[in-house]
Amino acid sequence: MSAEAAAGRPLLSIRDLRTYFHTSDGIARSVDGVSFDIFPGETLAVVGESGCGKSVTAFTIMGLVPVPPGRVEGGEILLGDRDLLKLPESAMRDVRGNDISMVFQEPMTSLNPILTIGRQISEAILRHKDVTKVEARRLSIEMLSRVGIPSPERRADEYPHQLSGGMKQRAMIAMALVCRPRLLIADEPTTALDVTIQSQILDLLNDLREEFEMSVLLITHDLGVVAEVADRVIVMYAGKVVESAGVVDLFERPGHPYTRALFRSLPSLEHRGEALQVIPGNVPNPLDFPSGCRFRTRCPIARPECATTDPQLIEAAPRHLVACPFSSDGGDAQ
């Protein structure tokens, strides 16, 4: 579904979310005032480099941030009329798997090695649905078959180590979707996979999204993957959203100096052998983010005032938000 068609009521609304980690070295403001909506039926990609807060955002939505050292310092996560941050853990357990599910980057570490695949999927069903064990097993096998696992009856009785990386990721997806959630959060679901297997899994996620009429929140660092599957994109840098736009808009008219720099640092297929344009320096330390705009220390168009004012997301074009007051002043020497 396109962003235009989805302009109705959001499925999930995140408002001014702040998740900090209290470490012995200080406070890491990993997610610091993040707001965005996910609409029914869309794939929203969250992109950014390591430490930008994209995974912590996902874990906060799922209520899986370890406390301590983590703590949600403020904000709202609205699923319909409910604020997930105010729900007791018992109610959150009903939300997880049932309304919102998650698949992780490492299928090897997120499956239980001592339980069969079928048993793990059945447990998810029995947790949320009033069915018999026999029925749960039948549903598990049906789901394994739907995610493209050959001979699912046999595979259901196998253990995770007997499956290849791609098959494990399929089994993870089967487990996540067996209760038909409205939102699937996929945290780097293909990063650990080979490129030919990656394209199989991306196609599968896309098909299932249409079939189950669910939304997908895709967390990734790979702009190629974003272009393949996303409808809309959120770009994060140092705990903040710096840009948000429809996928075509973002790729054709990136607004924020960080987004532009990120695109220019990709090795392109059209221009080989030329030196890549780089973003100088490193991603800032979450314990010690720069004041004002957090990108200013690496930004080609930074001005003195960037150190003192915290840039807000402003509508640079319809449905295209950019957190930089100077984004129209160049800095995009392509």
Binding site: E49, S50, P150, S164, G165, G166, M167, D194, V195, T196, I197, Q198, S199, Q200, L202, D203, H221, D222, L223, G224, V225, V226, A227, E228, A230, V247, V248, L250, F251, A261, L262, F263, S265, L266, P267, S268, L269, E270, H271, R272, G273, A275, L276, Q277, V278, I279, N282, V283
Partner: protein
Amino acid sequence: MIKPGARPLLEVANLQKFYPIRKGLIPRVVGNVQAVGDVSFSVAEQETLGLVGESGCGKTTVGRCVLRLIEPTGGSVRFDGADVLALSSGELRGLRRRMQIIFQDPYSSLNPRHTVAETVGDAMRLHGIVKSRAAVRDRVSQLLERVGLNRNYINRYPHEFSGGQRQRIGIARALAVEPEFIVCDEAVSALDVSIQAQILNLLSELQREMKLAYLFIAHDLSVVRHISDRIAVMYLGHIVEEAGTDDLFASPAHPYTRALLSAIPIPVPKRARTNIPLEGDVPSPIDPPSGCHFRTRCPLATAECAEARPPLVEIGPGHRAACIHLDRIDELPMPFASSLAREGSR
């Protein structure tokens, strides 16, 4: 196949590496993992050969065998004419001064108890390149600056650095002995996009300045394309295609290469997809399919493909592919990456 007239620095012929599988109370060899089946290639002076393929295809094993960090089972490796596999350990040490490696994981490849000065300086002392302690420190400082690190970092430990900085230390260590040839084994794969670009640029600059040859092993085809002069594509222990970089992208001749290129996610949204879906997974190297190893997933496979392993045949200048159905390759769609590459080279 290197350019005519270019001097081959590294020549690898029929390289094989099998790992025996032992079973039972009194262990007996019951089979072999054929990590590298039969691989031949050359790298010319100051050239970059990209070696690509998916996990388990044997590309890393090839890189390690070339340096004899792993002893190959068979075949020959010649470096500047010398037979690397016949060298004694003392002679090998002399050669290691000329051949170096940069590893993927900048976290596990640096000794956490050694300062930068020790990590980078030890090899210089070992090879007697620089004699006095002061001279070593001097040279390490110079190298740090050359790879883009502050020279004051010389007494720091690895944990004080970010991933990109550690990779720079790894590069400085490889450069310390002034090598002519470096194996870059997934050297930028663990890095963020913005840092990856910095390291790729650094590797290109160093190649020009120090006249280095690279064997650049990676799974990311856009990265390999950016840095390589030529590319060899591996599948399950064998090279299936080898060509100049532009040639390989513009006219991939092997069905596997075509499928691989079509699976690259390209940062162009809402394009028409020209996917060549490959069924299933890479077979196990313990029991590879007979004949062509790719036939179990190949959309062009016929019964004939099971009979014999197809040899690499020359199909154009410096362009070789191993497939008996090369004439039918255009039954598969041209990958989007190829159309971009063709536009780019115009």
